[in-house]
């Protein structure tokens, strides 16, 4: 019997396992997962901490039990894969419950080891009172710890940092947020970032921007955050400065890594080794606007990559083309969405890019409940191609960003966008949608 072993049971891993089994019923599929949970949604952790999501189990899509019984997948949770022998085609795993080590032969391997939080030496997350946000167990630990905390330091102003800051604030904690540059600086330009800054300030989150955290001071547990500008007493710290690919096992067996440090795969999600595939937050993929390899560890791509890997292992022939970096977040009442390249990113990869910002309204002016939206577009002077966009506002953001994502996928020009047949109805959009108006404005700057 042919056996697929999947290392890692989160988004990519379980998508791969499920797809492979569905395509080829005869395939034996075994999935190892270190934590107690498989197929879960770490993106829901802030809402668990906030209290909107009542049980951690609500963040689980499918249980190990379900995969075993309904899908015929041999899921081994609380199993840590310690080693792989790529020549002998064997994995060595430790059953963390029984504290036993087992060996298992494979025909195909899918590495879905995910990412791990960046934790510089000076900011160790192993120290007492310092937490990272990755697994559901992390969510539980934070949820318990913050109960007694009055002041919480959040380090990092990206998606996770912002969402955790909001969650703590809504639990009535004092929140200090530290970010070396500006908020969401890896995703958006300063113009969009400012809107988020305003929203944080309206909700009494103190954002220390342009301030570099140097370390912590401890007395038993973390007591102070030390930065290049001062020292701040805190009861606990959440470290959310980024994610890096977990390539420890891949490195061990000589799987080729790419320029980003993540695993290099082809369009079929195969690594440099025969029969070894990889998917999720441990791989790099093509950015469909720049064409460059990129490392953007987001769940939708991880799921899609897993599905493609699983299909190919099972004898199908799927390809994963790449990503646009589309992402949404909500910061209190502000919706934020972005796709493609920011102006800075576009220039970094060599486009002669321009950007524009404008304010528009989400609905017809006469229909109640309309909200102001801020649209920022980035386009290429030479080809007139749309390169990216970001929107903030209290409604009507996500859908418009998705429309921009589709436009980027189709390599639409600014001229196309001025004509795009977007829907109109007083409740949902003004007759000149903000995207069309924005396109008309940026067109004049090309």
């Amino acid at each position: 019997m042919t056996r697929l072993v999947v290392v890692g049971g989160s988004a990519a891993g379980m998508s791969a396992a499920a797809k492979a089994k569905r395509v080829n019923k005869k395939l034996e599929v075994v999935a190892f997962e270190r934590s107690r949970y498989v197929s879960y949604a770490p993106c829901g952790i802030p809402y668990y901490v906030e209290g909107l999501v009542k049980k951690l189990d609500d963040l689980v899509y499918y249980t190990a039990e379900y995969f075993r019984k309904e899908r015929g997948i041999d899921v081994r949770s609380r199993h840590e894969v310690l080693d792989i022998d790529a020549n002998a085609k064997k994995v060595v795993a430790k059953d963390l419950n029984k504290d036993e080590v087992l060996e298992m032969r494979y025909d195909y391997l899918v590495l879905a080891t995910g990412g791990k939080p960046l934790t510089p030496e000076t900011l160790s997350a192993k120290a007492d009172g310092v937490y990272t946000v990755r697994t559901l167990e992390d969510g539980e630990r934070i949820n318990v710890a913050c109960e007694r905390a009055r002041t919480i330091g959040v380090i990092g102003g990206g998606y996770i940092g912002l969402e955790m800051a909001e969650a703590f604030r809504l639990r009535n904690k004092r929140v200090l947020l530290f970010q070396r540059s500006f908020l969401m600086s890896r995703a958006v330009d300063l113009e969009i970032s400012k809107d988020i800054e305003d929203e944080l300030s309206k909700h009494d989150v103190t954002a220390h921007l342009g301030e570099a955290v140097k370390g912590f001071r401890f007395r038993g547990k973390v007591m102070h955050i030390t930065t290049d500008k001062g020292e701040y007493p805190v009861d606990m710290v959440v470290l959310a400065i980024g994610v890096k690919p977990n390539v420890d096992l891949a490195g061990k067996i000589g799987v080729e890594l790419g320029v980003t440090g993540a695993i290099k795969v082809n369009e079929r999600m195969r690594t440099s080794l025969e029969n070894v595939y990889a998917a999720g937050d441990n791989v790099e993929t093509a950015h469909l606007v720049s064409g460059n390899p990129t490392y953007l560890p987001f769940a939708p791509a991880a799921n899609k990559m897993g599905r493609v890997a699983g299909d190919n292992v099972a004898g199908g022939s799927s390809v994963f083309k790449g990503v646009l970096g589309t992402a949404f977040t909500k910061v209190f009442n502000l919706h934020v969405g972005r796709t493609g390249l920011s102006l800075r990113q576009a220039r970094e990869v060599g486009f002669d890019a321009v950007a524009m910002d404008m304010k528009h309204i989400s609905r017809s002016h006469y229909y109640p409940g309309g909200e102001q939206i801020h649209v920022r577009l980035v386009a290429d002077k030479e080809s007139h191609r749309l390169l990216g966009g970001a929107i903030t506002g209290k409604e009507g953001v996500a859908g418009r960003v998705n429309a921009l994502a589709s436009a980027l996928w189709g390599r639409l020009t600014v001229e196309d966008l001025t004509q795009l047949d977007l829907g109109y109805q007083p409740v949902f959009a003004p007759v000149w949608d903000g995207l069309i108006v924005a396109a008309n404005i940026i067109k004049r700057r090309l």
Copy 2:
């Protein structure tokens, strides 16, 4: 001095006038409009009748006064253009206030005469108690008349009929809606239409579907609606069975009409006559999925066409590529959106098309407030191209339809759609967005 005369001061006309003047300050721009209002939003009439919009003036984007003072456009409202002499390049207009006739020479003409409600002989809207919905004056008449009506018949189950039915119901009227086939039959397939039918029934609108209205019985005013199945007492009637292009003047001067009966224009919005342009609900345009000429009188296209016509008259060189028929409506709490071709439409124009329907959720399952959405996609078996889509639900509809519209513009295939990098965040979308799941389903049917 070069003079542009615009006939019709609604969406297309005023867009043309404003754009032309902005591009060429030296151009003299005169716009004739029969009604009291220019640049207004008839799409807001249902919300005025419902009472959400307080004053009819709220539906006016810009007043004639504004165009005169701020934009330097000579707007003549309450002026009806009676005749055009294309050889002498003159329009003959009647000042309806003074009851005087005037002549005016033009160098360029933009025909923005719009559409007019379909009113078959047997269903005359001139009869007492029978109304059509087109101008703001219509809105006012209906608003006054319905005050005393207890039972209102709405004939036509398209966008306007549905929105008027809702408005009357929310004013606590008994509403009988008649539609010869099924609801929104020109826009969606029966599968989507059924959702709307359910929503009407939840809100006690009696929908008589598959029932053909034959005429009215009068006693001074309309007293009964007579159909092929029965006779229904009503206090007033709104006739909303469709719109046809108003091409009376165009016909008179020999402007070529297209296969749909609307004015034929090139991509620059020029008619068959030198110096005569046309834009809005009186022209036909290319359907960007079928490639065929189509007549789809929607405001966003009218505005864009007007802008293109105005730019070209003023010496610019813009093109209008065509439409996708993207449209939204809201029927009580149900959001409805569609773009591209329905299955029936796709087959009619010769595609070997398939469709699929699925139910999904608007947000992550664990985030409160998620609503079920119904996604229907239509695709071409041969090329795998996406041909159209329609969505219903209580939230998350409009944005997803716009994403599909962008995808249609870019001629994306179903395979592209399975991979599309749409945003994810628990508040806005599940990790597998409904569009992606739907694409994966329809892919298996190709």
